[in-house]
Point group: C2
Chain length 429, copies 2
């Protein structure tokens, strides 16, 4: 592990050695003093996306009108899916962009359960993003396909003693011959814990279970090797590290090995074979395209496509190397400069098991978060009960930012600036 | 019915009396000579949407970043839903904007079937948009809820003898005590036939069936009175007469009377009660909000919100009056000037049973459509097997446009310009 000297000069030295430093210039930054530590929630605006959105509206919608569908719109879910595929280790023809993460999870879970007829156990963990848990609960409440008489059992793997990582022994013993599906977030939204995709996938396959990975907090933050790990199914969102813009459509992956065996529960015309024949009976499109449903939001989708460019240029290996250095540095500064002020770690210390965000815990985390936003020009976020979460998007976060955010947190603590804020939670963050 | 004189001067006279004529100036029109008769498929770009999209990207995403969610993004599905509600006769709190038309149809169909446990008949017609039929077929293939042992029967009402309108007698006799749901397109995408919403809804209710209306081809084209007709469920798209932009998110309506009785099959966090508590167990949000699922595409959604403005200003009654005059005029000109060239009507002659588009039929319709696009600067569209479809969006189509499009079709026919095009269909239109 790198040795970090505790000074801002050292942070500037790290920045001067950072070969990705210039990527920050590819983003619109209206307030250079703002420390935006929430790129793991909504990525910054790439300059290329500004121009693309303008052109899309004025030229493609305004001038091409309906002809736009023949000039790149119709193909966009497949084309952009393949681009995202290069970031997640998926060969062409396995990824599409469509709908939302939750709708995609619904489609893929239903497809997996239908394929796994007879098995009734679904395994996830208590750290999963709540929407993922809700989707599973809904599926179990509205069972489908050949399994229409099945009462599903959803098992939520508990936390290990550290309350940061999942209980891996419990996970291993829960996966049995009755397990239809193991579905987990690759990186956990709160603690940033990173599952070992290959090991868990192998574990599930040995019992005949399918694995579905939610990549929302890992895509664009670290290299992913879906094909190489022999993953079955995956999905993720595009507005975090992919910088696709608020609510940009999600993606899903279906491994070629099972594409012809699975079907979507939602049979829309975009997933129809030869949709412009307007035939009255559904016939699934070949391959992953059958998981398309209806007309996709082109302003959001095509702006997101352009927004991928800086990421594609930088390359995931270089981004991961910088991300590890950023989060190691943040962890070290937390230990040295924040632990004495009452903070404890909320994320794994081992970078091999950590994504690109870290949580630091404090009983007053909610109020500290408020003070940072209101008074210190920092945007972190708060995750109940006591996590102050900091995202380190390696495309535009500098080492000086890491130093400065820790410094501003220190100011809030030393000057007790958080005490004036109420203890209740935000309505929306 | 108005008497129309067969001259362009008369068309100009109609335009001079048109109190909505100036609304055309609220749209971006890059080529004034283009006759865009496809506003029923993708509406033109309102000028207000250009500015809104620019502001959204640069100011809201670029500067507000994650704070945008607290400045109007999170509430947008409800706020914009209520605006659309004013166009479809729905009091506040019954309409949300979310996902696509097909995904919404899936959610509402599943909800209806669950509520109608024990009934196994689903009634639609052969004129429905194919994606609607596919969704129903998928639902029947993946049955749900309390009906998990049900084998659904989907009945497609056939055409009447004219091949333009549905066989209403067959529809009436098909609705029985075993009917769970009647789901129809309010205006048919091909012929433009307009169902009598009140009569059909009453018919269904007398047998205890629920009714779900697809308003995609009627919303923004004519006044709709969902509450007053006591409709149960409805949905529609926003990129046709609502001018929301390519693939802008769809809307759905659930009548207040049944909101607390129905549940969505797709349980996402946007449909959760108190989503920012991040609770691990799903609890449906009150009312129609439970049909929200995941994060919506804000660039598309909020640009669409702005795009509604010209329509809201014009008002549906005035728009309908102009639409009827436009389609009556087009029908008359078709009879007088195109019937002698081999065209026959593909739409109802009675404006009370017609939306805002008409189809005219010709055995060479496919090639005529191609010639109009390639050589005559007209954009109509073709719908198999023999329909040339013309949309009359009353916000920006003039009476001179109606005269001119008929005139340009005459030129194609008189000069046999269509003969050089192949007879096969387009891949995408």
């Amino acid at each position: 592990m790198t040795t970090f000297s505790p000074s801002r000069a050292f942070a500037l030295e790290l920045d001067s050695q950072d070969e990705l430093a210039s990527f920050r210039e590819q983003f619109v930054i209206t307030d250079p003093d703002l420390l935006y530590m929430d790129g793991n929630s909504l990525g910054r605006l790439p300059k290329v996306a500004v121009e693309r959105a303008r052109q899309l509206v004025k030229t493609e919608w305004g001038n091409d009108l309906i002809r736009g569908w023949n000039k790149g719109w119709w193909e966009a879910p497949r084309r952009v899916g393949d681009k995202i595929g290069t970031l997640i280790g998926a060969a062409a023809g396995q990824v599409i962009v469509s709908d939302t993460t939750s709708v995609n999870l619904y489609k893929l879970t239903m497809a997996a359960l239908r394929l796994q007829s007879g098995r009734k156990r679904i395994i996830t963990d208590q750290f999963n993003f709540p929407s993922d848990l809700y989707i599973l609960q809904g599926v179990a409440s509205f069972p489908g396909g050949d399994l229409r008489n099945t009462q599903y059992e959803i098992i939520r793997i508990p936390a290990a003693d550290d309350d940061i990582t999942p209980d891996l022994a419990a996970l291993e013993s829960a996966i049995n011959e009755d397990t239809a599906l193991v579905t987990l977030s690759h990186v956990l939204f709160k603690s940033g814990y990173l599952y070992d995709m290959r090991a868990i996938t192998d574990l599930a396959h040995r019992k005949g279970a399918l694995v579905l990975w939610d990549l929302s907090h890992s895509v664009g933050a670290l290299p992913i090797a879906l094909d190489d790990c022999n993953a079955d199914l995956a999905l993720g969102c595009t507005y975090k590290y992919l910088n696709g813009g608020p609510g940009a459509p999600a993606f899903l992956y279906v491994n070629k090995k099972i594409q012809e065996k699975v079907s979507s529960p939602i049979w829309g015309w975009w997933g129809q074979n030869r949709p412009f024949d307007f035939g009255l009976d559904y016939e699934p499109a070949p391959g992953v395209d059958r998981f398309l449903v209806g007309t996709q939001p082109m302003l959001s989708l095509l702006t997101m496509e352009a927004a991928l460019e800086p990421l594609l240029q930088a390359g995931m290996d270089r981004l991961r190397a910088k991300s590890i250095l950023l989060t190691d540095y943040a962890s070290t500064l937390t230990e040295e400069r924040l632990a004495p002020l009452g903070f404890s770690p909320g994320s794994p210390r081992d970078s091999a098991r950590r994504g690109s965000h870290i949580s630091i815990r404090h009983t007053d985390a909610y109020r500290i978060n408020r003070a940072l936003i209101e008074e210190m020009n920092v945007i972190p976020d708060f995750r109940a009960p006591d996590n102050l979460r900091l995202g380190f998007a390696p495309l535009y976060i500098s080492f000086a930012d890491v130093w400065d955010v820790v410094d501003r947190i220190r100011t809030v603590m030393m000057e007790k600036r958080y005490e004036k804020y109420p203890k209740e939670k935000l309505a929306v963050t």
